[in-house]
Assembly symmetry: D2
Homo-oligomer: 295 residues x 4
């Protein structure tokens, strides 16, 4: 009836949660101590304890000892930029086909939120290249990755991406920069043929400009979408959504790097947006057709 | 300026897309042939071709040759049940901490949509246990997994899950069955302490019953949410959402298997729902607080 | 090219907006004065001024002089309860057929948000009956209605609604109380045959109970829905949704009071929920079919 | 316990619903007959019957006799254009302050969906001016309005709106045309000072252009929003959203005609978009602040 206790060990990345739901993520080190707003816990009090049990600070305050999920790691990151959240990251992973062994590039690095997820998912056989022209950002991201033991899968490159990328034949490229439309050629050059391109952009104006740039650079299967996530109060007798939610983090744009293009409905795709003409695609985009088998 | 061509090879899983966006996923085999509604293509016409280029059927119809993403693999699955879609699967992966090397269990198998994603993400070092009492389902799912070369990471078990699971100390358990509230004890026994629990349920009534069962079985950090995905027509000059979207696939429920529970606000969590009393949690759930750093 | 100035007159209900978007709604009275956080304005400074122009406080702070919309009146109401908002109220008006000359009943009164909209829309020939057992609530609502000159269309009744309503043959009844399922018979008795019923409820549990009670009491055409409203930052060069939005105010439930019921698909509607059996209605409810002409 | 029967009378606009939920809206005329797909009903069979009861066709098929709501009237309109739906119309009414006695203008007429709602809500003392350059459209809309007895409140004007409007001092103007940005000056001239402006636009590009035009023409309090409506299957034991929903009908844009403008945060509003500079308004727009009193 009861699960087998898994014991916290030195070197583990752990999540400690207070009764006020304040969260602490640390790597267990026999010589270290956690300072909380409710007292101090030496790591030695945690090492050897089963996950899922309570520990107490020197003031007697209880804390739950847990292993963090990748979602916990990302949302608890030290940051000085807007970061991507698990709802977008999870969908990006699926659409860019990120998994064990992949070689993937991102720009910019930012605080390392997506970097963390990519590094975790590509596994020890994969590799992540992360470009940012801001050295200060990369230092923060590197520290975040080091703290959770994933930095050895990431090559950080402090570089203006207008100068291009060093890599070629990559599985996927993700651009989280304000002007991705200026770098689609660089992205193409880094990708394998047929490779996966993704981006996140806050405004509709950026989305429009990126669509034009992607079509010009012979990308195809362009999809644009947004994800809304709504939480519920987990109370059985009074089940209802929470009062407030995030309305927008960004639009996701996906595309595939193509060598040939196939005309649809007699209209060459590269002319879609260039001519500024009114052009209506099918009612439901390719991606949402896939989303819904009932159509 | 141009990417390095990646050539399709015998044994590759490939995606072929017609000019009407009809999709075909096959494993390349020099002896095989693809039958499409627009003519026939022998695989030998595809082997050695660069991804991202066109191939032509014997009727002259063009098809784009691509590597499928994991999202493509799932949405193109042969199915005889409702399947989970990438928008939910991506978020489940993040919240159950699925990644290379994990040991994870799901029930039921269904058509193998989630199974496919789990098998891909745990990598060659990980393992997936997939339970379903319907042998017919498991045969379909096994064929789906074999077709894409991931079946060797999955143990299919034809079993009534009321009889319990064989495994213990697992990293995560996901229940996609109509009555998950009847099996939370079995899930607990299979999990490591502090392990990750997830479920998807179509109705609010099931969500309420599952919340009660989880609290009774000492699960904590219960989160309930839903994900809305909206696609846009990818036309730069006339950017707008598509006309129709999926309104509901299911509610996602997440929880952690705990040994101890910490009281919040002086109310023991196990009494939340049992007493049938009105209980209001914080306005924003723990998860959505995490979602939004600005609060 | 320029519009004809409309001048503010004594007796007008006006909206004054500061440069920080703080809002004040008052009835212009030559003897009165507005106290703001940025100084004082005698009403005589406003009387005779054109709407759409600025007035200045004695400290020199500018305020725009406007006529409030009914949405402004509702959102600026003095309140001590959760109120309904324009997004729900507008849809309720359409579905309960509220318009000039209607006779409509609501319970409870609350702070008078919906009361305000109903009183405005039924016009001088219509009438609103507003029940609440809390005298304190009704006093607040009455003051709110008096302040904007609509109180003479409303009969406030301080009463437990379990005792029934005095009226019969009404066009519409709206229940905004926590247990509407206890009062559907009272609602029926107050309605004309075929009359319009509506309710707003925060939790799914209340919705389920109300559906059962409505079916038992021979209501038909039951619709349940929710409305999400998302604002955008009105910046042309950087168009994007705001960061946060309201995730939930309540579920709307609509129904018609019927004398006869027509069986659908061979299943008598009154048995839908009573038997506790699994029953799936058509994929798209009657109302959403109406919503979408493409189906 | 039972409501007072209201009897259908000659001249009433009635809604007849078949057991397959097919809907018929007619004006009762002792000499007329309804042809349905399930048989014929002479109006004399309906006149004198209580609303909420069944009538039978000559083939014995049952039909429920009801009074239509304004939402029913709009969604059952004969149409040859995309029409606005009740979810948007209800919110437009609230924000443009449409009610008994108002004088309001719309362009274009289209099939008369919004016209119907406006004519109903302004009551016998109000008036609607409806412009469209397509005579064929106006004929259809006029017939739709005549059928339900509201045509006498509407002045139809077949006119290119670039030539301006005849009216001045109107309470509200609503533009449902593809290029509203070309007519904001005409709208201004027709409005009273401080008057209400509204528009619905399908694409983000149109929204951006309209925002610029409105700022140039001295409109203020610009709000942009969209409304999502999700229906639930009304089944108590299995409560859940329907599978599919409308993803987009249009963006709503609201503004007020101003004579003076107040600078916010030291930036003159007319420069917002003209300069093409990056300008971020407050996180939550004025309208959504109003939406949520808890912030």
């Amino acid at each position: 009836m009861t699960e087998i206790p898994t014991l916290a060990q030195a070197g583990d990345i752990i999540l400690l949660v207070s009764s006020q739901k304040k969260r602490y993520i640390v790597r267990l080190d026999p010589l270290a101590t956690i300072q909380t707003h409710r007292g101090v816990l030496p790591h030695t009090d945690l090492i050897g304890k089963p996950y899922g049990t309570r520990a107490f600070s020197h003031l007697g305050s209880p804390f739950l000892l847990l292993q963090p999920s990748i979602a916990d790691l990302i949302t608890e990151l030290k940051r000085n930029t807007q970061i991507m959240y698990p709802k977008e990251i999870g969908y990006v992973l699926m659409n860019l086909d990120i998994g064990p062994g992949r070689r993937v590039l991102e720009a910019g690095t930012g605080s390392g939120g997506l970097t963390t997820a990519l590094a975790y998912m590509v596994g020890p056989q994969g590799v992540v290249y992360s470009y940012d022209y801001r050295g200060q950002m990369q230092n923060l991201a590197r520290k975040n990755l080091e703290r959770i033991g994933l930095a050895d899968r990431v090559f950080f490159k402090e570089r203006e991406i207008s100068q291009g990328f060093d890599e070629t034949g990559l599985d996927a490229v993700f651009l989280d920069v304000p002007n991705p439309y200026d770098y689609v050629e660089q992205a193409r050059s880094a990708l394998k043929s047929g490779g996966f391109f993704g981006s996140i952009q806050p405004t509709t104006n950026q989305v429009s400009r990126l669509i034009i740039a992607l079509r010009r650079a012979n990308f195809g299967f362009i999809d644009v979408c947004e994800i809304l996530l709504r939480y519920y109060k987990p109370v059985a007798e009074r089940l209802r959504p929470v009062d407030r939610m995030v309305a927008h983090t960004g639009y996701l744009i996906f595309a595939r790097s193509l060598i040939d293009i196939i005309e649809e409905d007699g209209i060459p795709p590269t002319e879609y947006a260039l001519a500024g003409q009114v052009f209506e695609t099918d009612d439901i985009s390719s991606a949402s057709q896939r989303e819904d088998p009932e159509d």
